[in-house]
């Protein structure tokens, strides 16, 4: 028979715990957490502005710390999970850049800042949790680094380095509406590609442009380039991002999709070219692109490559393109279609 386990009656006060005066009546865990955050900031020599100056204690209100949008979430000191209101994450304009978890012991007036998630880290966790409710539950041990991580990020990083990533209109999510490649010839780009992926369209009506573009594509028949759509891509904290979010990334690359054909009004081919943003740079190793049309599948994982190129010639079957990177959510484009 095994020995009964002695129940743990007291918890060790974690290092870095902020003890607040017991003489004050703290109305809520959030009030305690904000008071503790102010105490931490006051102990720093560098003055870090924390806002808003009024109503910061209001539940759910975003904070601003040194120009970073910060969501403060609280739970109990012994808690194993934390509930996060996802409403602010639904729009890019309101999505926070950082999420700070505070574990609050109201009975002892003690606050422990468990750690921080960046927007990309939160989105990744939230997508895997994917609850139908307004609340996302995350394990407290997903938050890393204590308040030190918060102080590091808000003091060292440019605010643009952490994008505001919305949960709802996800740039990563597959959109099932089919994209007609023929529209590109007429200067039209689908809203999904333009807004969610930050794609740019370049109609190629001038011969000089066509020749210039032709130099980049190995498999392009002479003078057959009709329209070029480029999607800026990047890696933010190991997550694949596109559009504006990619502009501030250190590792940037671009997916170019070139509609080709001998008839200037009707494309009959598509070339995909994945390359680094700067000519000659290497693609991140492990970056994977796959594209399939019917049973014809092409896939390549970058390993010291400067570019990867796939070619599709004709057929009305849908062309499905996706990109992947280890540890990141896949980035899946809406299906593309050549005219019949």
């Amino acid at each position: 028979m095994t020995e009964p386990v002695t129940p743990l009656e007291a918890l060790t006060m974690p290092l870095g715990a902020v003890e607040l005066p017991e003489s004050v009546q703290w109305n809520s865990p959030r009030v305690l957490a904000i008071a503790a955050l102010k105490e931490v900031l006051a102990s720093q020599k560098a003055a870090l502005p924390l806002g808003p100056s009024i109503d910061a204690e209001e539940e759910g209100r975003l904070l601003s710390l040194n120009r970073f949008a910060l969501q403060l979430v609280t739970t109990g000191l012994a808690a194993d999970q934390i509930a996060i209101d996802k409403s602010v994450w639904m729009q890019e304009s309101t999505a926070p850049q950082l999420l700070l978890a505070a574990q609050v012991d109201e009975e002892n007036d003690v606050v422990v800042f468990t750690g921080v998630l960046t927007s990309a880290e939160f989105i990744s966790l939230a997508r895997s949790a994917n609850p139908p409710t307004e609340i996302i539950i995350i394990d407290t041990n997903e938050f890393k680094g204590g308040v030190e991580r918060l102080l590091t990020l808000v003091q060292l990083l440019d605010p643009a380095a952490i994008p505001r990533l919305p949960l709802k209109t996800s740039p990563y999510k597959a959109q099932r509406s089919v994209i007609a490649i023929a529209d590109w010839i007429n200067g039209q780009i689908d809203e999904v590609l333009g807004q969610s992926f930050g794609a740019n369209l370049q109609p190629l009506s001038v011969g000089a442009f066509r020749t210039n573009i032709a130099l980049r594509f190995i498999s392009l028949p002479d003078n057959n380039a009709l329209a070029l759509v480029s999607i800026p891509l990047g890696l933010a904290d190991g997550q694949l991002v596109s559009g504006l979010a990619a502009e501030t990334c250190i590792e940037r690359f671009v997916l170019q999709m070139l509609a080709t054909g001998s008839n200037p009004s009707s494309p009959d081919g598509l070339i995909l070219l994945l390359s680094a943003s700067i000519d000659g740079d290497l693609l991140p190793n492990g970056l994977c692109i796959s594209a399939c049309q019917g049973s014809h599948t092409q896939q390549q994982i970058a390993e010291d490559n400067t570019k990867i190129e796939f070619n599709f010639s004709g057929g009305t079957e849908l062309i499905n393109v996706s990109l992947g990177f280890p540890g990141s959510n896949d980035l899946v484009l809406p299906p593309l279609q050549l005219p019949g």
């Binding site: 009964p4 386990v5 002695t6 129940p7 743990l8 009656e9 007291a10 918890l11 060790t12 006060m13 974690p14 290092l15 870095g16 715990a17 003890e19 017991e22 009546q25 109305n27 102990s43 720093q44 020599k45 560098a46 739970t75 109990g76 000191l77 012994a78 808690a79 194993d80 999970q81 574990q103 012991d105 109201e106 009975e107 002892n108 003690v110 422990v112 468990t114 750690g115 960046t118 539950i137 041990n141 890393k144 680094g145 204590g146 030190e148 991580r149 102080l151 590091t152 990020l153 003091q155 060292l156 990083l157 440019d158 380095a161 933010a236 904290d237 190991g238 501030t248 990334c249 250190i250």
Partner: protein, 431 residues
């Protein structure tokens, strides 16, 4: 000697048993079945009924004896679990809980005393009452839980004991806060591993999930009423609302059983949970390796060392001046910094200054101070092309700060004194 006639109390020699002759005589005459019996709920309730209906202090004295046993058991278990790491003392703990010496009178005010009877303790004004057993007995409602449980709940929320624990780096968490902050997953895991009950796991999880929203409301009301965040206990109404089909007593017992199972689950993991998880994710890297590319490591090292020196010169004097003011109050504080400067481990410092390690750790506050210095140095280094990526990438920023912090507090070669300790040593030598 039965539990109803032996009082566990704090004496100069420690916790000892005392057998009040009056208690034994009372039991022998009035309740002989109690003399050698094991303690039980029915015997507790029998004595309580007698205590309520008489002007004699003796039935209550027997109950005071009775509850001193679970209090002692709680104190000893808590002491055993934490004294090595936190330096708590059993005598000090017992002074808050086992302060009942078995007197037959109780002080009602500064000027007057009265017989230690149930009617007298019930009429005392609300608030802390001495001895602690009077506080337990006057607030005990047998419809809600058993006397040993009640004694444990009361000691868990004893403010003076809480303050004593806090001084030693320990936090008493009530069963209710623990239940509120545990996920269904943790409850399931705890009940499966540690709870032997006729109730199914599903019914316990359902009870727990109903507890949370009701607790939040009740706690809010309690705070509005009392202005306090601790001390809340579920009343009859709360328990009836939580599970109308069950007796409130059973509901509370089940909640307490879940809380106990959670505590058992947390044993062993909690002591290393929060502070160690804060440390997680920091892997040692050298500052030179944190730069993206560029000049030779030697050139980078010059830049890094200069930035760290400037950051320490900028930040540490004010910190140390504040500390130095307290040196006259406790010589151990100065000695701790001296020994830190000489390169001793926190454990060795604690031994020499005759304090516990958490005291040393809190005094030196190495992690917070080294992080602040590392960030200041990193902000300066960011201006150089080799470190420019630290302003643009989360990973690069963290890598640089971790590396700088590591460089500040870890010796490069065995026997070296790391820069932060060296700086402290120089400062102390100049005092």
């Amino acid at each position: 000697m039965g539990p109803y006639q032996e009082l566990r109390m704090l004496t100069l020699q420690g916790i000892c048993g005392k057998s009040p002759a009056t208690a034994s005589a009372f039991l022998a005459h009035e309740r002989p079945e109690y003399l050698e019996a094991e303690a039980s709920r029915s015997l507790d309730l029998g004595l309580l009924e007698v205590a309520k209906s008489t002007d004699s202090p003796l039935p209550l004295l027997c109950l005071r004896c009775r509850l001193s046993h679970p209090l002692e058991a709680w104190l000893k278990a808590t002491f055993n679990a934490h004294h090595e790491r936190h330096g708590i003392e059993l005598k000090a703990m017992a002074s808050y809980a086992l302060d009942d010496e078995g007197a037959l009178t109780i002080r009602r005010s500064k000027e007057s005393t009265a017989d230690f009877t149930y009617s007298v303790i019930s009429s005392l004004p609300k608030g802390p009452t001495s001895p602690f057993s009077a506080e337990i007995l006057r607030s005990f409602d047998p419809a809600l839980c058993g006397l040993p449980h009640w004694a444990r709940l009361k000691i868990q929320s004893n403010n003076e004991l809480k303050a004593y624990f806090k001084q030693h780096g320990l936090l008493l968490i009530s069963d209710w806060a623990l239940l509120r902050n545990s996920s269904p997953r943790r409850v399931q895991e705890a009940c499966q591993a540690h709870l032997r009950s006729s109730a199914t796991i599903e019914s316990l999880i359902a009870l727990h999930s109903g507890f949370k929203p009701l607790y939040d409301l009740a706690k809010q009301e309690f705070k509005a009423l009392t202005g306090k965040s601790s001390g809340w206990q579920p009343g009859l109404e709360f328990l009836q609302q939580l599970d109308p089909a069950q007796e409130p007593f059973n509901t509370k017992e089940r909640l307490l059983a879940i809380a106990k199972a959670i505590r058992q689950l947390l044993t062993g993991s909690a002591n290393q949970s929060l502070d160690q998880s804060l440390e997680a994710g920091y892997e040692p890297v050298t500052p030179s390796s944190a730069s993206s590319d560029g000049p030779e490591p030697a050139a980078l090292k010059v830049l890094i060392d200069a930035a760290l020196e400037r950051a320490m010169d900028n930040l540490l004097p004010a910190v140390m001046q504040k500390e130095a003011i307290k040196f006259s109050k406790d010589e151990g504080r100065k000695l701790a910094f001296e020994l830190y400067g000489q390169g001793l481990s926190q454990r060795d410092i604690a031994q020499q200054v005759k304090h516990e390690q958490p005291w040393v750790s809190k005094l030196l506050d190495e992690k917070r101070r080294s992080t602040e210095i590392a960030i200041a140095a990193a902000i300066e280094l960011k201006r150089w092309p080799e470190f420019i990526s630290c302003g643009k990438s989360v990973e690069a920023a963290e890598r640089l700060v971790n590396a700088l912090r590591n460089h500040l507090v870890e010796p490069e070669l065995e026997g070296d004194i790391p820069p932060l300790r060296r700086w402290v040593q120089q400062y102390i030598n100049q005092l």
